[in-house]
């Protein structure tokens, strides 16, 4: 009987599962048979896959594997180092003075010209947009009838490729200026690229009768500062010195875009079927997106036209602007396919990782205790269950910072008076971010000394260099100033024991918060207690994200929490958050605390255009001293990222700046196959018990009914 149940269940599930050899609980279909497959998940549907627009890590996870900007971050080297990707070499820089005459004196230089050379013979993935017969693009004007049978890109019968040229990079730069593409960096580029703003305005004021007309105009227009030199070379002229510009050239924004694709996707009929550039990328990278169902899964497959690339080595060097590789034996990518499944809920995501169906995973706070623990020496180690499975833990501190900001325009907490500065300093001392990290992030973070996180030039490690406003040296140790010192500062500010000496009333401050989850309320309670340490009453005002934004823009909020994720690993990308010309209220910029300091501004502008050197280091130190003293932020913390990967995943490195890392990953499928089968053997015992209980129940019911029926008849 038990055998009958087992085989009935097995037969039915195997029939449904396509008779695969996979365990019964395998979430993958019978088609996913390739061995070099990387399985992972994504939590949130990517909103945009257009490189002109995409600006978040969950989108970069896909497009960085498809689109190739000119440069990339070396996978293994720290501090982060840029190396050529599609570029033949690092850029050639020429400087010009205000009269546009060549100069070698950087102090006189106003304009900087980047000469960018790309490799020859790079091919795009095959795509219907490139398909032509007798020089005519077949799919650029698809009729309504032809569209009837087309629901996805795979439905196009023909496709073709073409070589990457400098025109494609130039075309993409023009796309960044197009207001219809809503590129988040169009404002920044307008400040730097010569003629960019002019072109942007012109485009905005023109009316086109159709997409073809528009694209022809875009192709023919010459932006003053962006010029084609030859098929594989082009130049960009910056109207200001901006050494950090090269980092932008390594971001997906500066990926090449073939005009054919833009024209192809601009057809109304395709847009109605959700076949748009925003959802179906066209790139030269190692992978192409073959299935885009962001409601279910996204599949990247090896791009057969990919030119090949050598796996990096720590020995790699840039000699005469060119990358000299020391690892000639390994060619990337190592994978044929990567399947990313949409997994919104944390419980199934974690369990599938433990079952081996996802190759990697983060650690959510709910699973933290199950995954890692602190050993006797205070180091973080994996728990036994995970260690037994051969799971690896990789940790890295993110190039991000989370802080509590004071609105410097506020009459109580803001401004440059001593009174308000002492008040901000007192609060900064009172708030214990060590405790915050331990309670709310499971210890995954380090207390910030300044806006600069580890790995960024000028970072203060809290050991040799530290924030002297908040910390002090005591018997050779750097420790936080005690609460009495905070109270003294508060007294100096005129709020002795939290009472305003001018009004005689208790000091009440307001904290603007978003979110309504349990975590938010726990955090707000904790924050109130921190303020209570120095007898300040904190009123928390929880609101929705829209209202919060409104308060920040109008400058009516008093204290708030904010964060910043680095675009590139340079101190400028963090310190600009405090530059006065970026003030949120006055200029709509990223300086949310609306901090203004002439001294800071002067040093920032000086530091901004410098390369990393001891002189730049000194200026950064001075800048940090100024802002630490002024305390427009409570410096908060830099989060640590913990990621787990199974033993069969090779070449896992923590490089939080590089997004195109899928090509380096390698899978040992034999180990994976054995482990998954071992961990997921079907257990029928409970099924037998259940069947037994149901059988007894049905049998008893029948008996009871019979008995009752007889009773009735003979009554």
């Amino acid at each position: 009987m038990l055998r009958f149940i087992k085989y009935t269940f097995l037969i039915s599930i195997l029939t449904l599962g396509g008779c695969s050899e996979k365990p019964l609980n395998s979430p993958y279909g019978s088609n996913d048979k390739s061995s070099k497959v990387f399985y992972s998940s994504f939590q949130e549907r990517p909103k945009h896959l257009d490189p002109a627009r995409s600006y978040s890590s969950n989108e970069y996870a896909f497009i960085a594997q498809i689109y190739e900007p000119l440069y990339q971050y070396h996978y293994l080297k720290k501090p982060y180092e840029l190396i050529p990707l599609t570029a033949r070499e690092m850029p050639e820089l020429h400087y010009f003075d205000k009269d546009f005459k060549n100069t070698k004196d950087k102090n006189k230089a106003v304009y900087t010209k980047y000469i960018l050379k790309i490799k020859k013979g790079i091919l795009y993935q095959n795509h219907p947009a490139f398909f032509k017969i007798n020089e005519d693009y077949i799919y650029h004007e698809i009729s309504e009838i032809d569209l009837e049978n087309i629901n996805t890109l795979k439905d196009f019968k023909d496709d073709e490729t073409r070589e990457l040229t400098s025109d494609d990079y130039i075309y993409q730069i023009k796309r960044l200026a197009d207001y219809k593409n809503h590129s988040p960096i169009s404002g920044v580029m307008q400040d730097y690229i010569l003629g960019f703003g002019e072109y942007k305005n012109k485009l905005q004021n023109l009316q086109f009768s159709n997409s073809k007309e528009k694209i022809n105009f875009v192709r023919s227009y010459n932006i003053k500062g962006v010029r084609k030199i030859d098929k594989y070379t082009f130049s960009i002229i910056l109207k200001k010195q901006y050494p950090q510009f090269i980092y932008w050239l390594a971001m997906p924004f500066f990926s090449p875009m073939p005009w054919e694709a833009d024209l192809f996707y601009s057809q109304q009929g395709l847009q109605k079927k959700n076949i748009t550039l925003n959802w179906f990328p066209v790139g030269t990278g190692p992978f192409k997106l073959t299935e885009n169902n962001p409601n279910l899964r996204m599949i990247l497959e090896y791009n057969k036209n990919f030119r090949g690339e050598i796996y990096p080595s720590l020995e790699d060097k840039i000699i005469n602007k060119k990358l000299v590789s020391f690892n000639n034996s390994k060619e990337v990518p190592f994978l044929d396919k990567a399947i990313y499944s949409l997994e919104k809920e944390q419980i199934p995501r974690w369990n599938k990782f433990l079952q081996g169906y996802y190759d990697n995973s983060g650690i959510a706070s709910d699973n933290y205790d199950q995954a890692v623990s602190l050993n006797n020496s205070g180091d973080i180690s994996l728990n036994k269950e995970l260690e037994d499975k051969g799971i690896h833990l990789t940790t890295a501190t993110s190039a991000s910072t989370y802080y509590i900001g004071f609105n410097m325009l506020d009459t109580v907490i803001g401004g440059h008076s001593e009174r308000s500065r002492f008040l901000r300093q007192a609060i900064s001392i009172a708030i214990d971010y060590d405790e915050y990290i331990s309670i709310f992030t499971n210890g995954r973070g380090i207390v910030a000394q300044s806006p600069l996180p580890p790995g960024i030039f000028g970072y203060q490690d809290g050991k040799n260099n530290f924030n002297k406003t908040i910390f002090e040296l005591q018997s050779g140790k750097i420790i936080k100033k005690n609460i009495d010192q905070a109270k003294k500062l508060l007294t100096k500010a005129g709020y002795d024991n939290g009472i305003d000496s001018q009004t005689g009333k208790p000091l009440i401050l307001y904290f603007e918060a978003t979110g309504a989850g349990a975590d938010t309320y726990a955090f707000l309670n904790w924050l109130r207690k921190q303020f209570k340490k120095i007898n300040i009453q904190l009123v928390t005002r929880v609101t929705d994200y829209n209202r919060f934004q409104e308060k920040m823009i109008s400058g009516t909020g008093q204290i708030f929490q904010w964060g910043w994720n680095a675009d590139y690993p340079d101190p400028e990308n963090f310190l600009f958050l405090l530059y006065s010309k970026n003030g949120k209220v006055k200029y709509g910029g990223e300086n949310a605390s609306n901090y203004e300091s002439q001294e800071f501004d002067e040093l920032f502008l000086k530091m901004k255009n410098m390369r990393n050197s001891s002189q730049r280091g000194k200026i950064i130190k001075n800048i940090l001293e100024i802002i630490q003293k002024d305390s427009p932020w409570i410096w908060g913390f830099h989060p640590k990222s913990f990621s787990l990967s199974h033993k069969w995943v090779e070449n896992v490195e923590s490089n939080l700046m590089a997004n195109n890392t899928l090509k380096y990953k390698r899978i040992n499928d034999e180990i994976r196959y054995k482990s998954i089968n071992l961990w997921n053997k079907a257990n029928f015992t409970l099924l037998y018990i259940l069947f037994f209980i149901i059988s007894i129940f049905i049998f008893s019911v029948i008996l009871m009914i019979r008995k009752k029926d007889k009773e009735k008849v003979y009554d």
């Binding site: 599962g17 809503h182 988040p184 960096i185 499944s341 419980i347 599938k352 169906y357 009735k712």
Partner: protein, 325 residues
């Protein structure tokens, strides 16, 4: 009957307008388009210029109800209300705020929702009616009391408990079906087994009690006493008389929810990674994609109204005494 249906359809129009106005007020008056734009454009480096062009592209720069810059009918047509709300009546859902065609997405996603909802309804119906008949058969006995307690206990447990417990027991411990996910075609079945079992289990408590009360109401009627006095056995009376007569409210109760099956379940789809309309709505709410939310609210209203009309029609089919005028 046709006259009645037409009358009901005409009655439905003010309801739809009311719902439409309500959602319009919520999404455009409470939240300004500028705020929505800011949310969609992200946190970093958003300029006022981008917000304006984002709104322009979606027609959110127009006035809400009346455009003073236009003349004649265009003064009403070139407004946010006409473009975003009135066009829903023509089933033109337009593009979502992230740029996808909503009608296309709805067509794609209604089938997975139905794939869970329909078997859950049918299996659930069979089990609930069986349990209800069983408890009615043993009414006012210990079996009945225990059954009621059992049902109340089942009803009192949160649906999340069933989902997480089911995933833990069947997928994690027994390794019999995937924890979550979905596939198209017949491979979808292995992903549907667990959500269907859980949906059925979750509905047993309330379903059984509901049907039990319907049967109990029926069993008190005179014709049952007549049947019993004729010497029919309890089971014969229950199955041949009570069950058939109680089918009228059961069937009409089912018909009303039939159209809504397409809309899916918000929680179940989200937890099991089923790409249906339930998770579509949840995602849209979370990402404040109000174009989708508006379309789904409108669609929900239409389906609900059609469910009610279908119920009325089904009355006439199962009960010859009912006439629609």
């Amino acid at each position: 009957m046709i006259k009645y249906i037409l009358k009901r359809l005409i009655y439905a129009i003010p309801i739809l307008i009311g719902v439409n106005l309500l959602t319009f007020t919520l999404f455009f008056v409470v939240n300004s388009p500028e705020e929505v734009a800011r949310l969609h454009l992200g946190n970093k480096r958003v300029t006022q210029e981008q917000i304006i062009s984002w709104n322009e592209e979606r027609g959110y720069n127009n006035p809400l109800f009346y455009n003073t810059n236009e003349k004649g009918l265009n003064a009403f047509k070139e407004t946010i209300f006409y473009e975003k709300s009135f066009k829903l009546f023509l089933f033109e859902f337009g593009l979502s705020d992230s740029g996808r065609d909503i009608k296309y997405d709805i067509k794609q996603r209604m089938w997975p929702s139905l794939a869970i909802a329909l078997p859950s309804l049918l299996v659930g119906l069979f089990i609930n009616i069986t349990f209800a008949l069983f408890f009615v058969y043993f009414r006012s006995t210990k079996v009945d009391y225990i059954g009621v307690i059992f049902c109340v206990a089942l009803m009192s447990i949160s649906s999340l408990f069933y989902i997480i417990g089911g995933q833990y027991l069947i997928s994690k411990l027994m390794h019999l079906v995937p924890i979550s996910g979905y596939a198209h075609g017949y491979e979808a079945i292995k992903f549907l087994v667990l959500p269907v079992i859980i949906s059925v289990l979750y509905g047993i408590g309330s379903g059984t009690r509901w049907y039990r009360s319907l049967f109990l109401e029926e069993i008190e009627k005179d014709y049952v006493k007549t049947a019993k006095s004729k010497g029919l056995s309890e089971s014969a009376v229950l199955f041949n008389h009570v069950f058939k007569n109680a089918l009228i409210p059961i069937l009409t109760g089912i018909v009303v929810i039939l159209p809504l099956l397409f809309l899916g379940s918000l929680i179940v789809e989200s937890f099991f990674g089923i790409p249906g309309l339930g998770s579509y709505t949840i995602d849209a709410i979370q990402s404040q994609d109000f174009a989708i939310v508006r379309a789904m609210v409108f669609l929900g209203t239409i389906l609900y109204i059609s469910g009610l009309i279908l119920t009325d029609i089904s009355y006439t089919l199962v009960d010859p005494r009912v006439r629609l005028k």
